[in-house]
Structure formats: structure tokens, C-alpha cells
Amino acid sequence: MQFFVDPSRCIGCQSCLNACEECETHRGVSMINFDFVDRRESIATAAYVCFHCEDPTCAEVCPADAIKKGDDGIVQSALEPRCIGCANCVLACPFGIPKLHPKRELMMKCDMCYDRTSVGKKPMCATVCPSQALTFATPETIARERREVPTNTFQFGRETVKTKVFMMTPVGVDEVSIDVADYMWEARA
């Protein structure tokens, strides 16, 4: 099973954000990154989990060696005794995922619900997501059921980042206007 993020399906309900903080291992702390892209211009919203990079920048820049990647490819939250709360990882992550919790002087981020996936459950966010903008499924299921195409290769300038989590990309999308006025009859009169 793999994790697939598809912002085009997101309806901005924030169910993921609310459900994440209900997980037993970190109740009260949500690890979901959620954004209104530009509410004035658009209703578009996007919810993200950690992308779990193959070569995680957050770990590379950590001066305290507090961020570990497991054999399963999951990049863990900072180890509590090691993390010095310097926020290097927060600044360095190309996806803007890690968050520093000032009270605890600790970086915390999505670990893809290890407690749930290790017992055969889906991550909490991907379970509750009403629009399946966050989906945990086999690549075969995604290939069979979705029009969008998964990719896990991202280009940041000349830097290529490969990740464990997949992003769904649209196919055959033309230019889309998002201003209601552009659709109206009176607009042309």
C-alpha cells in the first residue's frame, strides 16, 4: 500500500487535520499541513502529509542527528532526547512539512501513522478523508480507478527529490478560469 495525495480532490473540510490529532500516539497535535491556496482567487485547498523523501533534507541538515529514516522508508519525527529545537529542518524541507513545537522544543511531523499501518490499518487522515484527496491504496488500485497519474519525482530548481508518497497529477487539463464573473452572461453585455 502506498500513500497518494491529490489536491484536486480536496474540498477543504479539514477532516484530516482534525482527525490526525485524535491518534493515540500524539493526541492533541495534528501533523497535517493544510492550506487555502488563495481564498480570494479560488476555493482551492490542499492537505498534505510528509512526503517521506528518499534522501530527506530535514535529516541531512539536522545538527543533532535527531531525524531518522526507517527501513520502511518512513522519515520519523525528531527523536525527543536529541532534538534541540533549532528549526533547521523546518527551514530546509522543500515541502514545508516539519513543524516546531516551541513549548516542547521539538520538531514533530507526520510519520504516516506507524501505529496504525503496522497493524494493517490505513493512516488516520487517509481513512477519514471524505473526498479521498488523501488515499492509502495499492498502486494497482490507483491505476485502475483514477484518471490522474501518480508521480513521486519532484523538481526544485536543479534539485530532484524522490519521495515515498505520491502526488496525483492531472491529465489533459486546459486553462481553467476560477472567477465566477467570467462565466456569467452579463459579463459580456
Binding site: R9, G12, L17, E24, T127, I178, E186
Partner: protein, 739 residues
């Protein structure tokens, strides 16, 4: 008489709304203690009735776990479902019955509270007649409770005035579907939605008001289905629409008739279906002749070629589904709007087969079940008409009374409030209804409540309406009483009891039974538990339209719900109604209905040039009695904002965060605005979940549809003015502030 006692601050300090952010004992405590049990049940919010498992410890709901096996939502939940557990153990919860005093409310004994309620209701009925007392019910009650409320009003009190807050929900749809097909229910199960080739979603903000339905719509798109969205606002699902029609508020009827005009002009109707399965086509065909695309574009603001394209997409599809909700129904011509939607489906033959049809997306928790069994002013159990002598005879026999003792049809919800206002109705007993927030023209509603000679309320929190009560009977939350509900798709499901009511609060059903006993009618209300009510309800509904006779609690658990009608225990239930295009009318035909045009009851003019439309946000439920007390849900959308297009905003120089005064023919309201391009420039939107000086329903008007009696929430006329600056922001992620 019934003004809010004491100071508003004192009431707020004592009864809230306070915000509950964490489970009892705090997050840390909660992480360290396992629940005693997981209870498989359903969310208490909205007509989707998602399956959910409630974590229970020490007689408290302390969290949730997704219930992935339940077929409708497969573990999916919206934020309201995720956070619903925080109403359990809430500091605002009423733990005792209350009596009003000059200074506020004091806790009392059940004996005094029930005794006073019965004495006052009896006095009023003796002095002014039986119909001087009315009963309000609610569509978030279990079906057992809804049935009981209807029976209590008619048998224990003998009043004809019993109605419910579902009157503010989908009654226009029901009132249109019944004459067309003979039944008021979504004709399709939701599993049909992904099978359509074209989905026409009109007046339904699915992403925010029925979030789980989004998954069905996206699955349809995944299979190559096309999506048409009709709405004055660019709603979250509109972002993925193949065609978006920005209809002007109140002109949906023009649009639908215009689409039918194009279908018939271009010969795209399904003649075989029309001839085999329908009546009344010719008159409707004649009626749409004047609705040519150009004329319709002028009225609706939708370009003619977009209307043409929508009509062609819908008619040419082999399978197409039309979904509608309050945006189509909340109009003084709400029934005509829904009938026009049905006409379009019938004319194109999109009806009565897999992946084809029309459906109302019922909004309230038990919006479907709550209207089927007798708390509607004109219906008896089983969706029977109260005017039908055979129905009266059947129900009277089940209830052990004579048909003559059974009152006739009474006033609807808005009409009851108007009768209170003019002094015709003197006493009111209300459960599960917060009319001060949810009825239109809140100033009028407050005046009416202040004129009541006696007002009794059954509730678990002291809602804004309950603050006007003389007696408040501390009732139960959904998770505190067993029962059934019927979901938007017509599936009857089992609500399991997870916890007992806390303190001295009691199950709602037992409160009604005690009141009935004290009214000397105890022999008609002998129930010890909800199951006994359900057994009687099965009989009462037997042979009716909404026939529950074959449904048992055990079947609901085993089969994950049963779709009605289900006339016998070996009947599989009926996920798709009207299979093959055969209606429930005696002749089996579906009936086209004429849909004459009417102007709005609050027309836009030079003094009030802008349309005001109201609706919901994803993090709040109805009048907010529950959801305005849950911290995370309030943080997500803390207060109402006036959504306004940049072009309109520029005409009076406001930007996001500025305060705007919105004035209608009733009164004015000042709120921060959010400047967004996702709304028509001639329209503003305000969500209605709040009370007092944030109540959008102070602005709305009391015009109702003459048949469905639904208020016209979706069209008011207003003007706007800049009022100053606030500190409001455009919506941002709530996570940032919580982390």
C-alpha cells in the same frame, strides 16, 4: 412573558456556549488510558449518517475510531464527525431540569419540572382550547422519538399543531416527489452515483454540507463521468466541474425549464419512456415553450450556450443523475423548482434504472426518518396523509383510539410561530429545535417567544431558544438512547446506545412517556425502552408508503441497514425505488407537474439591489447548538463572514476584514466580510449557524412556499455599506494556530 431571565452575561457564564477542545482529563490523560469499549453507531450530524465507532470509557464518549466496514462511508468522516465526541461530558451539558426564575434558571426535581409543564399545558388548553398548545419536534431525533413526538401531540395533548424543523430542510423536495412518484424518498441509493455518465448537481454545496457524497461524485468522475454544477457560488466541488452554471439566486426554475425547452426543441426527449411511464407531458412541454435560451440567460445570468451544453450533456447521456439540496428547495417556489428537476429527468428517461434518476440530498441527521412517521403536521406514520380516512383508521387502531379522536392537519413550523406571535397559540413544547437561530426573521421569532404564556423545552444544552423557556427538561444526546434513523439514501440504520445520560438528565422517550402519564394518557405510552416504540412503529407504518414492517434492529445490524419499503421480514428492502420507471401511484405512472413561475417574496429593487443567500459551512451543523460548543469546529470557522465578490466590494470600498452592514427589509447586521471571486458579483452569502448579533436569519424573510411551507432562505434582497474595520482574516488553516 417569556423574556430571557437575568443578564445575558450570566446566562452565558452558566450555560455557554463554552468551547470544549479536549476530552475529559486532557490529551495526555486520554492517550494513556484505553477505552472500555468501541460502539458501532452513526454520526449525529447530517443526513449522511456515517458509520462511526465511539470510544467509551467510564460512561463517557472519549474519542472515535473509523468504522471502515460500514458500506456508505467506509470510515470516511467530515470534521464534525471527527469531533462530535467532544459534546460528551461538555461543561455546558444540562444535568438537571431547570425552572426559570427572575434572575435566571435554577435546577429542580423532575417532579416539579414535569408537574409544572403538565399543569400549565392543561390550564392553557382548558382556557383557550386544545389547539392553543403546539409541539415542535426535530429531524435530528431518532425515528422512535420522532414517532413518539407525533403521537404525544395528537394523543396525549390532542392538539393538531405538531410540526418540526425538517420544515426548514427538504420539504419542498418531498412535496414535489410525492405527487410525481407517490413517495417522498431519494429514488436512488448513493451507489448509483458513480455509475452515471453525467451528474447535474443543482443547489447542493456537497463538499461542505454532505462531505461524504463528494467521494461518490469523484468516483463518478474517475470513471469518466462529467459533472455539471449549478450554484451562485463556486463551491468546492465546482472546482472539478466540466461545466459550471452561475445561476442567479431564485432563478433555478427558469434554468431547468430552459433546459427542458432545449431538450424538446432538439428532439432529445425519451419518447418511449414518456409514453410508457408518465402522464402530463404535453402540458409541461407546452409550458416550457417561452423559455428559449436567450430569455433564460437574461433571467438566470447563465450564458445561453452553457444552458444549451448542459441540456445536451444531460439528455444525451445514457445514464444521468440530478442531485439537488437546499439551494433548489429553500424558495417560495421550492416545490416548483423540484418538480422542474423531476420533469427534466422524466422527459429524458433518466429515471428508475441503475445510474439514472434524481435525488434530494437530505440534510438533517434523521431528515428522512424524522419526516416519515408522524411529526409532520400533515402526515401520520408510514408517510400516510392525515387527511386519508383509511390512514386515520389504521393509525387510530394501532394507537388504540378512535379515528374521530385523531386531530386533523395543523400548522407548519413557520405558521406555528406566526400563530404564537398573533396570540392564537399560547403554549409550546419543543424538542430538538432552535427556532430563534433557524427560522427566518429572528426578530419576529423572538417577539413570538416572548408572548408565549408557557414554553417548555426538552434539550441537552440551553440553546438560545431554550433561554426563553419556563421549564427546561434535561434530555439526551443521540448516543444516549437506542433507536433507528433513515439516511439520505433511504437506508434505515441502527443507532446504538453508547452511554447513559449524565447527572439527572434523562432519555427523551421516557420524558414524553412521563408527561403522557401525568396528562392521564399513560395507557397509550407504556414503553420501557425504544425497542418497544419501534415495534409499534413497524405496525403503524405497515402497508403505508414508508413501510418498516419487515425491519428489525437485528436485521439492521446484520445487513448494515435496510432500505424501505420493507413490508416483511423476508423482504430484502428497496435500495432503488421505482425500478423500471414504475411509480408508487395506483396506475404505476410518474406524473409530470406544471411549474408556473413566481417572483421571490423579497424582490431585489433599487433600494435593495443585492441578493442575499444563506447556507452552511462544513464545520458547523444547523443552528450550532452542539457544534458551536466544540473548540476545533469553532476555530475552523469562528464567526459568520459576508462573502462578497471583488467587483461588488469595490463599489463601496471594502476589502477582506472590513465590517460590512447588510440591510434587508427586516433589519441590519454588521459582520466582517471576505472578498472572494467564488460568488456572483450581484450576490452575497452569509452562513446561518449563529445567534444574536451574528444571526443571518435576522435578515431573512418569512415568505414560505404555499405547499411545502418552506421559507425562502436562499433569496433575500439587501443593500450593503462599509461599517469600519475588524480583525477578520481570510480563512487559513486552523492547524497552524493549534500546533
Amino acid at each position: 412573558m417569556a423574556k430571557v431571565p437575568g443578564s445575558a452575561d450570566a446566562i452565558r457564564d452558566q450555560f455557554g456556549p463554552h468551547l470544549n477542545f479536549e476530552p475529559a482529563g486532557g490529551w495526555q490523560h486520554e492517550s494513556q488510558h484505553a477505552p472500555d469499549k468501541l460502539v458501532k453507531t452513526h454520526c449525529c450530524f447530517c443526513g449522511q449518517q456515517c458509520g462511526i465507532q465511539l470510544k467509551v470509557r467510564d460512561n463517557r464518549v472519549v474519542g472515535f475510531e473509523p468504522w471502515e466496514e460500514f458500506p456508505f462511508n467506509q470510515g470516511m468522516l467530515c470534521p464534525k464527525g471527527v469531533k462530535r465526541y467532544l459534546q460528551s461530558g461538555h461543561p455546558d451539558r444540562l444535568l438537571d431540569p431547570l425552572m426559570r426564575t427572575d434572575a435566571g434558571f435554577r435546577p429542580t426535581t423532575w417532579d416539579e419540572a414535569l408537574g409544572t409543564t403538565v399543569r400549565r399545558l392543561r390550564e392553557l388548553q382548558a382556557k383557550y382550547g386544545r389547539d392553543a398548545v403546539a409541539v415542535y419536534g426535530g429531524a435530528s431525533l431518532t425515528t422512535e422519538k420522532a414517532y413518539l413526538v407525533g403521537k404525544f401531540a395528537r394523543v396525549a395533548l390532542g392538539t393538531r399543531h405538531i410540526d418540526y424543523n425538517g420544515r426548514l430542510c427538504m420539504v419542498s423536495a418531498g412535496t414535489a416527489y410525492k405527487p410525481a412518484f407517490g413517495a417522498d424518498r431519494s429514488p436512488i441509493p448513493w451507489s448509483d452515483i458513480p455509475k452515471a455518465q453525467v451528474l447535474l448537481v443543482i443547489g447542493a454545496n456537497v463538499g461542505e454540507c454532505a462531505p461524504i457524497t463528494t467521494s461518490y461524485i469523484w468516483r463518478c468522475r474517475d470513471r469518466g463521468g462529467q459533472l455539471i454544477v449549478v450554484d451562485p457560488r463556486f463551491t468546492p466541488i465546482a472546482r472539478n466541474a466540466d461545466l459550471y452554471l452561475p445561476v442567479r439566486p431564485g432563478t433555478d426554475l427558469q434554468l431547468l425549464m430552459g433546459m427542458l425547452h432545449i431538450v424538446l426543441r432538439d428532439g432529445l426527449e425519451n419518447r418511449a419512456f414518456i409514453e410508457a411511464h408518465t402522464t402530463g407531458f404535453e402540458a409541461v412541454a407546452e409550458s416550457v415553450k417561452p423559455y428559449d435560451p436567450r430569455a433564460v440567460a437574461e433571467r438566470t445570468g447563465v450564458p445561453p450556450e452553457a444552458i444549451e451544453r448542459a441540456a445536451h450533456m444531460f439528455a444525451k447521456a445514457e445514464r444521468a443523475i440530478l442531485l439537488h439540496a437546499r439551494g433548489l428547495e429553500h424558495h417560495s417556489k421550492g416545490v416548483e423548482n423540484c418538480s422542474a428537476a423531476i420533469n427534466l429527468c422524466l422527459a429524458t428517461g433518466h429515471f428508475g434504472r441503475e445510474g439514472s434518476g434524481c435525488a434530494m440530498i437530505t440534510g438533517q441527521g434523521n431528515g428522512q426518518g424524522g419526516r416519515e412517521h408522524g411529526q409532520k403536521c400533515d402526515q401520520l406514520p408510514g408517510q400516510r396523509s392525515i387527511d386519508d380516512p383509511k390512514a386515520r383508521e389504521h393509525v387510530a387502531r394501532v394507537w388504540g383510539i378512535s379515528p374521530e379522536e385523531l386531530p386533523g392537519a395543523g400548522y407548519s413550523a413557520v405558521e406555528i410561530m406566526e400563530a404564537i406571535h398573533r396570540g392564537e397559540i399560547k403554549g409550546l413544547l419543543s424538542i430538538c429545535f432552535n427556532p430563534l437561530v433557524s427560522l427566518p426573521d429572528a426578530t419576529f421569532t423572538r417577539e413570538a417567544l416572548e408572548r408565549l404564556e408557557f414554553f417548555g423545552v426538552i434539550d441537552f444544552f440551553l440553546s438560545e431558544t431554550a433561554q426563553h423557556a419556563d421549564v427546561v427538561l434535561a434530555g439526551s444526546l443521540q448516543e444516549e438512547e437506542e433507536g433507528v434513523v433513515c439516511t439520505a439514501e433511504g437506508r434505515v440504520v441502527h443507532i446504538r446506545k453508547a452511554v447513559d445520560p449524565p447527572g439527572n438528565a434523562r432519555g427523551d422517550a421516557s420524558i414524553f412517556c412521563d408527561l403522557a402519564a401525568r396528562l392521564g394518557k399513560g395507557q397509550y405510552f407504556p414503553y420501557r425502552e425504544p425497542r418497544e416504540i419501534f415495534e409499534e412503529l413497524r405496525e403503524a407504518s405497515r402497508g403505508g408508503i414508508a413501510d418498516y414492517y419487515g425491519i428489525t434492529y437485528e436485521r439492521l445490524d446484520r445487513e448494515m441497514g435496510v432500505f424501505w419499503p420493507c413490508p416483511s421480514e423476508d423482504h430484502p428492502g428497496t435500495p432503488r425505488l421505482f425500478e423500471g420507471g414504475v411509480s408508487m401511484h395506483a396506475d404505476g405512472k410518474c406524473r409530470f407537474q406544471l411549474t408556473p413561475w413566481r417572483e421571490s417574496g423579497d424582490p431585489v429593487d433599487a433600494d435593495y439591489p443585492v441578493y442575499l443567500t444563506t447556507g452552511r459551512v462544513v464545520s458547523q451543523y444547523l443552528s450550532g447548538t452542539q457544534t458551536r460548543r466544540i473548540g476545533a469546529l469553532v476555530e475552523q470557522y469562528p464567526e459568520p463572514r459576508v462573502e462578497i465578490h471583488p467587483r461588488l466590494a469595490a463599489t463601496f470600498d471594502v476589502d477582506t476584514g472590513d465590517l460590512v452592514t447588510v440591510t434587508t427589509r427586516r433589519t441590519e447586521l454588521t459582520l466582517p466580510c471576505a472578498v472572494v471571486k467564488t460568488i456572483r458579483p450581484d450576490t452575497v452569502f452569509i452562513p446561518y449557524h449563529w445567534a444574536g448579533d451574528k444571526s443571518a436569519n435576522r435578515l431573512t424573510h418569512r415568505t414560505i412556499d404555499p405547499r411545502s411551507k418552506i421559507p425562502e432562505f436562499k433569496v433575500s434582497a439587501c443593500r450593503l455599506a462599509k461599517a469600519g474595520q475588524a480583525h477578520a482574516q481570510l480563512p487559513t488553516a486552523t492547524g497552524a494556530s493549534r500546533v
